[in-house]
Point group: C2
Chain length 127, copies 2
């Protein structure tokens, strides 16, 4: 499996994350994320959450309260350090009639079968 | 070398980064960061910069324009996936009479001798 193929797999996992986000699909998040207690998630403007139960709850709350945001993802760049890889993207978000732009660092770990998310850190872009 | 010892080494590298930041020490940044073209740095509110030359220039500009910020680092938590490791921290910054709080994800890679920074993503905390 060459690096280019690995990068494609990671980008597919990354797209799967944004699809789950747009669709408000908590079950897809369950499948996508690693379920260990070290996973990390920082939503824009917020401090980090740790461990899948806490991170999962934050997605459930977002889906319940904010509805499903629309996200246009641009500028994806992947870095592979097998079995880890990370992707930076620009997130163009439309949620509840409000638009915002964030930069995100998404980290994935290969579990022997597929790439699972271990970290998502999104930060608001300003000016 | 056990995991606890590794975590200590990573936290030391992480403290080295904040010391270099406080002292405005570009040479220390040179030594701390990996110099490859995949290193990643997102300053609070900004999009990601890539590659050591571009990242280095951003630190030089910060040190020249903003002076040396004071940084109180709290809540450091390290995750080790040898030869990679990442640390999340809360950054309490005082620069130019202005205080701010950010959450940061700092990633390090072991080069066989020491842990070198490969990514720094800081995002402003809001309310």
């Amino acid at each position: 499996m060459n690096d280019e193929h690995v990068a494609e797999q990671v980008l597919e996992a990354n797209m799967g994350f944004y699809l789950a986000l747009e669709q408000g699909d908590l079950q897809a998040m369950d499948e996508l994320w690693s379920d260990d207690d070290e996973v990390l998630c920082a939503h824009p403007g917020r401090g980090p959450l740790r461990g899948w139960p806490e991170v999962r709850q934050s997605w459930a709350a977002i889906f319940a309260n904010a509805g499903n945001p629309q996200v246009i993802v641009t500028d994806a760049v992947v870095t592979v350090r097998h079995p880890l890889a990370w992707v930076t993207v620009t997130e163009n978000l439309l949620a509840g009639g409000h638009t915002s732009v964030a930069t995100a660092l998404n980290m994935f770990e290969y579990d022997g079968q597929r790439w699972r998310m271990v970290a998502h850190h999104a930060s608001p872009l300003m000016g």
